[in-house]
């Protein structure tokens, strides 16, 4: 079955955006861009999962001339790969290779995970992520902790129904102070910690 990998940059206190939806604090440089470019070229992934807000943000950025020039490899990949957009309010999706998913998010993601294909990456999408975590549908968490306390913002993980024990797979520290931490849910133990 296809894995669903959550990929997000967060502040040290766990926010993925400021209250006014800014992500300009995300710490990037040549080394970090090389990492995201290699990630984008990875053969393990052939699809993305997006909530409505993340879709709106990404679809208005990646097809632009600016994105194609400043970040050609990632932009091409983002535009080319299939994207599943989970939304009950959107009427249509115009970004290339996007598919609107209107049904029950849990049932639909289970269906998509069973389709033949490679792994899927979910970006941002706080509410959608919460639903998926609560239903044990996320198979890997890749979090980039940025060296900042934002003071206020939107937590990436919000009000989960249950605690989730994790297994640490890998840690990588970047020269700019970002730390990538990769976890899997530890499905060998029951999650009764809290």
């Amino acid at each position: 079955m296809r894995k669903v990998v959550m990929f997000n940059s967060i502040s040290l206190e766990g926010f993925f955006e400021t209250l006014d939806h800014r992500i300009d604090w995300v710490n990037t440089d040549a080394e970090f861009n090389k990492f995201t470019t290699e990630n984008a070229q990875s053969d393990d992934v052939d699809g993305f999962i997006l909530g409505r807000k993340t879709y709106d943000m990404m679809s208005s950025f990646w097809p632009t001339e600016f994105a194609l020039q400043s970040n050609p490899v990632v932009a091409r990949r983002m535009n080319e790969l299939p994207k599943y957009v989970f939304s009950r309010t959107l009427k249509s999706v115009d970004w290339s290779n996007s598919e609107l998913v209107k049904g029950d998010a849990v049932q639909e993601l289970k269906r998509i995970k069973h389709l033949p294909g490679k792994d899927l990456v979910i970006f941002g999408s706080g509410n959608l992520s919460k639903t998926f975590i609560n239903n044990d549908l996320i198979d890997e968490f890749q979090l980039i902790v940025n060296p900042i306390l934002l003071a206020s913002g939107t937590p990436l993980f919000q009000d989960l129904n249950n605690s989730v024990r994790l297994k640490l797979l890998n840690v990588r520290t970047f020269g700019n102070g970002n730390v990538l931490m990769i976890y899997q849910p530890d499905r060998t133990t029951t999650s009764d910690a809290a």
Binding site: L12, E13, G14, W25, I133, F141, L143, V145, P147, I148, L149, L150, A151, S152, P155, L156, F157, D159, L160, N161, N162, S163, V164, R165, L166, K167, L168, V171, T173, G177, N178, V179, M181, Y183, D186, A193, A194
Partner: protein, 188 residues
């Protein structure tokens, strides 16, 4: 001047305690205990807010603590401790000084005294005030491999963002990751 080091265990979703102040999710083992001993033996002063003080003052002198965690208990009981509180009238835990005045002013005084580095454990409310007054010189956050789902955020109520400089990452075999930072204004 003495450094003030904030040390805390935190879940991956940013909580330092779960519902009902639960901390039994803390991922501790021999490697962690060695690290904890190293930390307490490097300091000669611990700083607490009232809530954390009351929890610790009840636990560490107890038979249970001395039996299950003798080395740490010995350190915790004998080290000089400062509890910052406007409401406590007395602090009876061995070697504890009650600090009733303005936290920032008082901590600046203590920092100016001769001695080794000081540690703040737990004490989220006090930490907020110390961070905001630029009195924390080093952050050591031990990220535990768990999403608690609910709890009390370690960092809350800050008014302004704080840019940090990453100093060190240490990965423990039990999946804990220690992230060490300095505030950028203090960095070289």
């Amino acid at each position: 001047m003495r450094k003030v080091i904030l040390f805390n265990l935190m879940s991956l979703d940013g909580f330092f305690e779960g519902p009902n102040r639960s901390i039994e999710w803390h991922n501790v083992d021999d490697e962690f205990n060695d690290f904890a001993v190293e930390q307490v033996s490097s300091t000669d002063g611990l700083i607490f807010g009232q809530v954390t003080y009351e929890m610790m003052a009840e636990y560490w002198p107890s038979e249970e603590a001395i039996r299950s965690d003798p080395i740490i208990a010995d350190w915790m009981n004998k080290l000089p401790k400062y509890v910052f509180s406007h409401t406590l009238n007395r602090a009876d835990w061995h070697n504890t000084t009650l600090v009733n005045g303005d936290a920032a002013v008082e901590l600046r005084k203590i920092k100016g005294e001769s001695g080794r580095d000081l540690f703040v454990f737990g004490s989220a409310d006090l930490s907020t005030s110390l961070i905001q007054n630029n009195l924390i010189d080093e952050y050591r956050v031990l990220v535990n491999p768990i999403l608690l789902g609910q709890g009390t955020p370690l960092f809350h109520g800050l008014k302004d963002p704080v840019s940090l400089q990453h100093i060190h990452t240490r990965t423990f075999t039990n999946g804990n990751v220690l992230l060490t930072y300095q505030p950028v204004s203090r960095a070289m």
